[in-house]
């Protein structure tokens, strides 16, 4: 965690998202190895299931939140020029929000059969 970043809340968010990601990555890998999809309909049905669909949305949201806090820390630690730091944080914020909306569109489309 960055020495310059304030707040205990991002610190907790970073660790909670990490814990969820560890659990869900192990689960995904076990499913992939032992019951992986072999064709399109398997693959699609898998993502259409409500439990899987919800778990995957939560997975991506955890990834994006985790990436936001982590990269924010890195930018605040190494970019000392105020204007450049502001520009990088803004661009990165747009990047994360764009990816979140793309991910939601993918996952909502996958809900239909």
């Amino acid at each position: 965690m960055s020495a310059r970043a304030g707040g205990v809340r991002p610190w907790i968010v970073q660790r909670l998202s990490a814990a969820y990601l560890v659990a869900v990555i192990v689960w995904f890998l076990l499913v992939l190895v032992f019951d992986g999809p072999s064709n399109y309909s398997d693959w699609h049905n898998w993502f259409a299931g409500s439990i899987w669909n919800t778990a995957v949305i939560l997975f991506w949201l955890s990834v994006f939140v985790h990436a936001w806090v982590g990269v924010r820390d890195v930018i605040m630690d190494y970019v000392r020029i105020d204007s450049l730091r502001f520009i990088l944080l803004s661009l990165f914020g747009f990047y994360i929000i764009a990816l979140i909306s793309w991910m939601l569109r993918i996952m909502i489309l996958a809900m239909g059969s």
Binding site: R15, A18, A19, V22, Y40, W43, H44, L99, I106, L109
Partner: protein
């Protein structure tokens, strides 16, 4: 008054002359792998999007694994993920005050490298 000896003392802020201990390498590699994974996200979202759209898209993504360049990219992503994953667990343990003595910390850094190497052997076997 400072003596000339003190003035000339090297400060070792030259990155090429600083020798990081293994624990430090694991730590900075956690940041570098995190940045790399963050930048790789659009590729994986694109793959998910295309593969879920229709059978043609699904086949197209399956065929990505025929190309050397994509396999190289996938290998780098899995390597970054394996490092970020195991080093991250080590840092979560550090938050719980586990492995804070110098020798324990070094052993845990070695453990991270070992688990990472084993994981990458599996990934290599799967990709090849």
């Amino acid at each position: 008054m400072k003596s000339s000896l003190q003035k000339n003392r090297p400060k070792y802020l030259d990155l090429l002359r600083i020798k990081l201990p293994l624990t430090g390498i694991v730590s900075i590699a956690h940041r570098i792998s995190g940045i790399f994974l963050m930048l790789s996200l659009p590729v994986w979202l694109y793959a998910l999007d295309t593969s879920l759209r229709d059978p043609i898209g699904y086949q197209a993504i399956v065929h990505w694994f025929d190309s050397f360049i994509f396999n190289l990219f996938a290998f780098l992503c899995f390597w970054a993920l394996a490092h970020h994953f195991f080093a991250g667990i080590r840092f979560l343990l550090a938050d719980l005050d586990i492995g804070m003595e110098k020798s324990a910390a070094l052993n845990m850094a070695k453990g991270v490298i070992l688990l990472e190497a084993l994981t990458m052997l599996f990934v290599l076997g799967w990709l090849l």
